[in-house]
C-alpha cells in the first residue's frame, strides 16, 4: 500500500503545484477595466502554417502605438496572442483559457479556417466577440445570422476566385487552366469562386488537383498531373509553404505555363522571393490581387499610411521585416480594431462592440479610410451586407515587385 500511496501523493502534489495560477475575477464587462481592454487571439507560430507568424506581432506593434497615442477612450489595449500550431484542438483549449481564465473582452484576428471554425460555436454560446478572423472563408461573413458574434475582415476567398475567373474570360479566352487547391474550405471556396467567375467558360479548367495541408510531402504528384493535362495556365490556391513548393516543382519538371495565378494569401514578395531562391524561375508574371499598401512597391512610398507604417515598424517591431505585407495586414487589422473600439464608446460592452462592427463605414468618401489599405478600398458593413473588405486590385509580379493592372474591382459586386 505504501508503495503506491507515496508516489501517488507526490504525483498529485506536483500536478497541483504546476497548475496553481489564480484566475482573474470577472468584472461587469469581462476584460474591461477603467484603464485596460484585454484582447486575445490564436495564431500558428509553429507548425505547417507558421509563415503567418508575423501577423500578431504587427498587430501588437500597432496597438502599442495606439496606446502611446492615449489608447481607446483613455483605456490601454492589452493584446495577448498564443500559438495553436494550426491544431484546432489547441485552439479550443487556448480559447477556453482566453474566455474562462483571462476573461478577454473580445477575440481578435484568430487565424485559420479550421481552428476558427472549431471555436465559433463556443464563442457564440458564450456571447464573446470573435472579431476580424484571419481567414477569408466565406462562411465567417455570410453566416452572420447563425453566428452573430463572429465577423471576418479580409476579402473572402470565393469573391477573390471569382475575380480570377472573370479576368481569365476577358483576357485569356483560350487558356487551359490547371488548378492546384488545398483540399478544405479554404481551397474549395477559391475553386467555387473561380468556377462562378468563369461562368459559361468552366470547361477552360482542364484539371483541378487537390492536396492536403497535413500531407508530409510536397504536392509533386499533383503538379506533374497538371503539367500532363496540357494546361498552359497554372492556378495556385494554396497556403504559403505548398505554394512555394509548387513553384519550385513546376520549374524542376520543366513546366513553364504561360500564366500563373496565385491566391493573394500566398502571393507576397517574401514568399515569391523564397520560391525564386529555392530554384524557381517562373515567379515572374504571377497574377494575384491585393487590397493593402504593398511595402515592396516604391510607388506607394509617399502614401501617408506607408510612411506611418515604416516609422512604426522601426519603433515597435524593429526585428520584423518592414517589406513583408503580412505586417501591413496586421497593422490594417489592428487599425480597424482600434476604430471599432473607439466607436463602441466609453461604456464598453461586448454587444455594443458587435453593434458597431456590424455597421462600419471607413471609406475614402468619409475621409476616415484605413491608411494601410490601398487608396479607395473601403471597409464597410451594413444590415445584411457583412463582408468588411471586398475591393481588390489585380497585380502582376514583375522584376520582384507587384505592379497594378487596371483599377479596383469589387468582388462582391455591391
Amino acid at each position: 500500500m505504501k508503495r503506491t500511496f507515496l508516489p501517488l501523493a507526490a504525483a498529485l502534489l506536483i500536478s497541483v503545484a504546476v497548475t496553481v495560477t489564480a484566475g482573474a475575477a470577472p468584472t461587469a464587462t469581462p476584460g474591461v477595466t477603467a484603464r485596460t481592454i484585454l484582447l486575445e487571439g490564436t495564431f500558428p507560430l509553429s507548425g505547417p502554417a507558421s509563415g503567418y507568424a508575423p501577423i500578431p506581432v504587427a498587430m501588437k506593434a500597432f496597438f502599442s502605438y495606439a496606446n502611446a497615442q492615449g489608447g481607446v477612450n483613455h483605456r490601454q489595449i492589452v493584446f495577448k496572442y498564443s500559438d495553436d500550431g494550426f491544431n484546432p484542438a489547441q485552439t479550443v483549449q487556448l480559447t477556453h483559457q482566453f474566455v474562462e481564465q483571462d476573461h478577454a473582452f473580445a477575440l481578435v484576428g484568430g487565424l485559420g479556417t479550421a481552428p476558427q471554425t472549431a471555436v465559433r460555436q463556443y464563442l457564440n454560446d458564450n456571447k464573446v466577440p470573435q472579431l476580424f478572423v484571419s481567414t477569408g472563408a466565406t462562411t465567417f461573413d455570410r453566416d452572420y445570422t447563425t453566428y452573430p458574434w463572429t465577423l471576418g475582415w479580409q476579402p473572402d476567398y470565393e469573391a477573390e476566385g471569382a475575380i480570377y475567373g472573370k479576368y481569365v474570360v476577358k483576357n485569356f479566352a483560350s487558356a487551359k487552366l490547371g488548378v492546384l487547391y488545398q483540399n478544405d474550405d479554404y481551397g474549395n471556396d477559391y475553386l467555387r469562386g473561380l468556377r462562378a467567375g468563369l461562368a459559361s467558360h468552366q470547361t477552360q479548367i482542364v484539371d483541378a488537383e487537390p492536396y492536403d495541408l497535413s500531407a508530409t510531402t510536397p504536392p509533386a504528384v499533383q503538379v506533374a498531373k497538371l503539367k500532363a493535362s496540357g494546361a498552359d495556365t497554372f492556378v495556385i490556391f494554396a497556403t504559403p509553404t505548398p505554394t512555394i513548393q509548387a513553384y519550385v516543382i513546376s520549374t524542376k519538371l520543366g513546366w513553364h505555363p504561360a500564366h500563373i495565378i496565385t491566391n493573394s494569401v500566398s502571393a507576397t514578395d517574401p514568399f515569391l522571393t523564397i520560391a525564386t531562391n529555392a530554384g524557381s524561375d517562373n515567379t515572374n508574371g504571377t497574377l494575384t490581387v491585393n487590397y493593402l499598401l504593398d511595402p515592396s512597391n516604391p510607388i506607394y512610398n509617399k502614401q501617408p499610411g506607408m510612411i506611418l507604417f515604416r516609422k512604426l515598424m522601426a519603433k515597435y517591431d524593429p526585428k520584423g521585416n518592414a517589406n513583408d505585407p503580412l505586417n501591413m495586414y496586421g497593422f490594417a487589422k489592428a487599425w480597424t480594431t482600434v476604430q471599432v473600439l473607439k466607436a463602441a464608446g466609453t461604456n464598453l460592452t461586448r454587444a455594443g462592440l458587435m453593434k458597431v462592427a456590424r455597421s462600419m463605414a471607413f471609406t475614402q468618401k468619409l475621409k476616415n479610410a484605413n491608411p494601410f489599405v490601398l487608396p479607395g478600398v473601403d471597409i464597410h458593413t451594413k444590415g445584411n451586407y457583412q463582408f468588411p473588405i471586398s475591393q481588390v486590385l489585380l497585380v502582376q509580379y514583375k522584376n520582384n515587385t507587384f505592379q497594378p493592372i487596371g483599377k479596383l474591382i469589387n468582388g462582391r459586386g455591391a
Binding site: V18, P88, A89, Q101, A114
Partner: protein, 347 residues
Amino acid sequence: MKRLQGPIGSAALMAPVLLAPFVFSHYRLYQLGLVAVYLVALLGLDMLTGFTGQISLGHGAFMGIGAYTTTILVVDHGWRDLWTIPVAGLVAGGCGLLFGLPATRFAGPYLALATFAIPLSFIGILKRFPHFTGGNVGKNLPQLHAEFGLGINPSVWFYVVAWAVALVMLPLAYVIVRGRFGRALRAVRDSEIASTAYGVSTAAIKAAAFGISAFYCGIAGGLFAIGITYVSPDTFPIALSILLLTGIVIGGAGSLYGMVFGAVFVEFIQISWSPALLEQISRIHHIDTRAPGSGLVVYGLILLAVLYVAPAGIAGLARRLRTVLLNRTYSSYSHRTNPQVTSKERN
C-alpha cells in the same frame, strides 16, 4: 496487499480530484478534465507498450476513432453525448483488435512501423468520406451540459465526467495487469520464446493487448470530442500518437500510477509550459523566439531535461528516491535494499 493496490491507489487519487473544484478556476478544471482524458489514453497505451512491450506509433488514431464515433452519434443520430462514450470505446477496441490480429506477426521496430500506418490511413479515410465524417471541414459538437438539470458550469461538468470515467478505468487497468492475464502480458514482453514455451499464446495475447489499449484510447477519444467540441483531421495529427508515446515514457512505462504524471505532461507541455519558458527565454537579449518552430525547440529541451533527471520516467524517479530514502533509514544493516532488482522485474 498487492491486490488492493489498484483500489487504494484510486482512492488516494480520489481526494485531490474531489477537492480540485473548490480550488481551481473553471479553465484549470477544464484542463484537468483533459488530463483525465489523456490519463485514460495513456493507461491504454501503457498496457500495450509498457506491459506487453509492443511499441505503437498509432494510438492517436484510436482516439480519433472514438472521437468520431461520439461526434457522429451525437450530431447525426441525436444520441446523448455521455451514452456514446462506451460505444466509442467498443468501436475503437474492435478496430484495435482487427489491427492487432495480423499485426502480431511483426515484432519490434517492424510492428512500430506498421502501427505508423494507422494514423496515416485514418486521416486519409476521414477525407475520403466527407459526407460521413465532415471531411476536412470537420464537425462541431454542442457544448456538454450538466445532466439532471444541474446548473453546473460546462467546464466544471466536463471535469466531473472525465474524472468519473478515469477513476473507473484506472482500477480496471489494475485488475487487468495484476491477474493471470497480466502475467501473460509481461511474459510476452520479457521473452516471447520463454512465454511460448510456458504455453502462452503470444499472438492472442498481443492481439488482446491491442484491443484493450485501443478500447481505452477510444473511451479517451469520446471524452476528448465532448471536451473539445470539434473534430477534424487536423485535430488528430500524427504528432498526437507520438505525444501519447512521449507521455508514457515520461510517466514511466510499465507503471500505471506514473500515467498520472504522463497525462499532466501531455496536457501542459504544449499549452502552458513551452510558451511560458519561451517567454522567459525571449527576455534574454539577442534571442529571437519569434522564429518559426522555436516553441518546438523549447519542447525538445524540456523533454531532454525531464529524461535526464528521470531516465525511467517519473515513476522510475519515484522508485529511485524511495530506494535512496530506505537506504538512509536502514543503512545500519543493509547497504542497498535490493541492488539486483531491475525496474522491469518490479512490475
